[in-house]
């Protein structure tokens, strides 16, 4: 048994989830600001007695002349309707509002959490009953119900805490339930069952740790809602008359003529307190959510990075055999740029030519850059991606020099893409026919609508889908059908080149055979050129004319399919072939390549494959190999070919 190669050992520093969390949290401005604001107000509340300049419990030294005194002098923030110091009341009011908020929220979150986990985990009738009940409580308007209950009972602090708490659990229950359901269906829970763990163990060790983050975020939200609810209740006059919360302060001020007296300080100050706390909690909650549930770093409509222009080498119009060359890629390099880190080179110096009618296979494993390369051709890279060198010539035009408007005329019209995993490649709320229609209309706007409809039907029939399905939605198609529909759409504008990015990877082997046969027949019928991206060497052998093998972002080897399979010169190609099962040679032992493909931000100096190469020389580890030209179009980048 081979031990794992050095390059694949984990780093010496362990990064527990808690540590990772803290590091991300520290860098989130919203969360930090929110937390700071919260700590400040908590400190003010805790040290109210020390901070308050006046004792607001006693009425000594207070006369009617003290009512509604403006800020300044003896009272920093003025006095209220009873002549008491607003600032001091502010500090003590903080206590009440915060206490009610936290305790009520605690009750809500506890109830909601238990209901959510029980409903989500146990399912069936229990879930049905609990969730129906939750839905009812969710629909019934909160505040009016709270008002009714408190009005009919005693408006004491304990009462209010309980009422707010007992009515505030509905959002928590829903969120916890859906999260529990999501976690429950994850494979590691199945594994836990498979090793014999009981329900309690699973809930404790698997469900809870993964539900907790969301629960915490929700708890923060619930606290803020509880504080808002308490202040609203107090304002309406249902607050505890003995506890002067901020809401109660506002109730008295509003009801006892602060407005007509122009005593804005009595109205603004308590309100600002509420805003401060709620804003603190809201910022903290949103920041935490970003930290715990990070979204993708980009979306597809964000502006991309400009292409770094390089010197043009004129494209070759015809190949040696006379066939026209439709697509020529010259020394293309692509970086991924993230702030604060050095750029990661995803594709380095890759070149190839695609002739008319040729089917080129692009082979490589995860992280080799093949998808990046394909996206770069049509300038569809994510915002962090940037073409930093090289050119892409399509029918004599330089795609790297075009602006977005021009590119839009080439996309789909000249070059189209069949994406992998067609599940979400189609818009789920529009019909398939509609989405094909759209492509045709964009590029041939003068065509009348009925003609376009005919073409849509024609295209679907071409790929073996009966035209009546064009009014159906993607979810009504099976996986194989969706892939065919994707192909139909890709052909809609009669492109010269079709890029098929792992089109059959997720499909069964029989469906895969159907799709491959379809592609092959379409290619012959329509004279298409196809770039077929895959990791499956068998498929490439069956279908392709030429093969580009990529590793770690560079070209390992590029040659005709026959050469690649029968006379490969690059060790990676050789090892890959040895690792690929061959049913025609059952006696062959499956070899493996120790280690694993390099990460873009940890590229080895020298040859990218050297750490795993059985034939590596000294210089392979320090110097990157040159691209050697062998017979015909055969190239390989390896030091073994030096001189």
């Amino acid at each position: 048994m081979q031990a794992i190669a050095e390059s694949s050992k984990p780093k010496t520093q362990s990064t527990s989830p808690l540590l990772t969390f803290w590091r991300t949290f520290r860098r989130n401005p919203m969360a930090l600001v929110g937390l700071t604001m919260l700590i400040i107000i908590l400190l003010l509340a805790v040290f109210a007695r020390q901070l308050a300049p006046y004792d607001v419990t006693s009425s000594a030294n207070v006369s009617t002349a003290d009512i509604y005194n403006p800020p300044g002098g003896a009272h920093l923030l003025g006095t209220d309707d009873a002549g008491k110091d607003v600032l001091s009341n502010f500090f003590f009011g903080a206590r009440i509002s915060l206490i009610v908020g936290f305790f009520a929220a605690f009750i809500s979150v506890f109830i909601g959490g238990v209901i959510g986990i029980v409903a989500g985990f146990y399912g069936g009738r229990i879930e049905n009953i609990l969730m129906r009940f939750t839905d009812i409580m969710l629909v019934i308007p909160d505040l009016p119900l709270m008002v009714v209950i408190v009005a009919l009972t005693k408006p004491s602090l304990i009462n209010i805490i309980f009422v707010i708490g007992l009515l505030g659990w509905t959002t928590t229950a829903r969120i916890v339930r859906s999260q529990t359901l999501a976690v429950k269906s994850r494979k590691f829970v199945l594994r836990a069952r498979a090793i014999g763990a009981g329900n309690f163990h699973i809930i404790l060790h698997h469900i809870l740790p993964l539900v907790m983050p969301l629960l915490v975020v929700n708890a923060i939200l619930v606290i803020s809602l509880a504080i808002l609810n308490e202040s609203a209740l107090s304002f309406i006059g249902l607050g505890d008359p003995t506890a002067l919360s901020w809401g109660q302060m506002l109730n008295y001020a509003f009801g006892r003529g602060a407005m007509s007296a122009g005593a804005w300080w009595a109205l603004v100050v308590p309100g600002l307190g509420i805003v401060w706390v709620v804003l603190a909690l809201t910022l903290l909650g949103h920041g935490l959510e970003q930290v715990l549930n990070p979204r993708l770093e980009f979306h597809h409509l964000e502006p991309g990075r400009p292409v770094v222009q390089s010197e043009a080498r004129q494209p070759v119009a015809r190949a040696e055999d006379g066939r026209p060359i439709l697509l020529e890629v010259q020394n293309l390099s692509v970086d991924y740029v993230t702030a604060g880190k050095p750029p990661a080179r995803a594709v380095e110096n890759v070149s190839f030519q695609l002739r008319e009618g040729e089917l080129m296979g692009l082979v490589g494993e995860s992280g080799c850059g093949k998808t990046t390369l394909m996206l770069a051709l049509l300038r569809l890279l994510p915002p962090a991606g940037q073409i930093v060198g090289g050119k892409v010539w399509f029918m004599g035009r330089d795609l790297t020099a075009m602006d977005e408007t021009e590119l839009q005329t080439v996309r789909w019209n000249g070059i189209s893409i069949v994406f992998q995993g067609a599940m979400n490649a189609f818009n789920p709320v529009r019909t398939i026919g509609d989405q094909i229609f759209e492509a045709i209309q964009k590029h041939t706007p003068i065509l009348p609508e009925d003609k376009i409809e005919d073409r849509v039907s024609e295209l679907l029939e071409l790929v073996g889908i009966s035209a009546e399905h064009k009014a159906h939605f993607p979810h009504q198609y099976s996986g194989g059908m969706r892939q065919r529909a994707m192909i139909a759409m890709a052909l809609a504008c009669n492109p010269s080149v079709v890029i098929a990015d792992e089109p059959t990877t997720a499909l069964d082997v029989m469906i895969q055979a159907q799709i491959l046969e379809l592609l092959d027949s379409l290619r012959k019928k329509l004279g298409l050129s196809i770039i077929f991206v895959t990791h499956d060497l068998g498929v490439v052998a069956e279908m392709c004319d030429s093969v580009l093998v990529m590793y770690g972002g560079v070209t390992a080897e590029y040659a005709s399919v026959d050469t690649i399979y029968n006379a490969p010169r690059h060790p990676y190609t050789q090892e890959l072939l040895k690792a690929f099962p061959d049913l025609s040679k059952l006696d062959k032992r499956l070899a493996s390549i120790p280690g694993y493909p390099p990460r873009l931000d940890q590229l080895p100096p020298g040859c990218r494959f050297a750490p795993r190469c059985p034939q590596a020389l000294e210089r392979c580890h320090t110097q990157p190999p040159a691209l050697h030209r062998l017979e015909g179009t055969h190239v390989a980048s390896c030091h073994l070919l030096d001189g």
């Binding site: 629909v139 505040l143 119900l145 009919l152 509003f254 979306h299 409509l301 709320v429 759209e438 979810h475």
Partner: protein, 342 residues
Amino acid sequence: MERRQYLLKKIGWSLFTILFVLVLNFFLFRILPGDPARAGVKDPRLKKEAIEAIQVRFGLDKPVVNCFESLNPVKLGSCTVNPLETQFFIYVGNLLRGELGISYHTNRPVAAILAERLWNTILLIGAGQILSIIVGVILGIFAAWKARTAIDYGALLTSLLAWSLPTFWLGIILLFWGSANGLPIGGKATPGSSTLPPVQQWTDIFQHMLLPTLTYTIVYMGEYTLIMRSSLLDVLAEDYILTAKAKGLSTFQILKDHALKNAMLPLVTVIAINLGFTVAGALQIEAVFSWPGLGGAIYESVVRRDYPVLQGAFLLIAVAVILANLIADLTYSYLDPRVQSE
């Protein structure tokens, strides 16, 4: 067929929820110590005729519900009482006749009082919701589209701040500022304005509506901005947006034809769920601005301990929200083709 089943299921469920609220309403007002009927009977403010009317209408001499004389569970009564003779069914019967009791404060039938107010609340919530949705959606779209730029951060902070404002407090501040600048300090219309020609009447109402609607809009647009932004960000990161881009569509076309519809779907759900919360906002706003709506009715009835009005207003508001939720649910199912049956 599946769609019809779905509709029936949803409608049936709403009816069940309304029933639940009826029962809840009934028992709340009987169980809780401030039992209005009995309290009302003792209330010295009521005239003798009113007290008798209450006794008859609420059937205070009859058992509460079958097997229970009163709400004291230990003291069982006869289980063979004609169910129609129990307080609960008298209550339901009254409701079905549109009979909601008599206000302690004004001695007018509650139903009549609330009927006027219902439309005022709808007017206020309607105008406020529409505005806050429009503002929220537009802001949210820009924030998501221009993610991670100044526009996004600005919109985000504004919405978070708006969301953090207590509704009643914002109302107070705006009222304070408004009254200092010539705007009316409350109510729906200037007294005596009903004699004016319609255009001027409506201008008058408009002036009175300005601040309350503004309060409503500011508070709720924050939430809608956040939801729209979040929803659109998710949509714009989906694979089909990349497909659309690869097809050569322009950014505007992609937003219009692919992103917005998908992003709005969750918004419909949120608007529905929110209706319960917006009523809470309406309550506060109507209290501050003395707007003669259902929320204001609740507020005033609390202040005056006018329980029949409180009970009636609560019921009406709850039923309205349940029905609005139903409509939103049904609308959603028409918009999203993936929803077939539960």
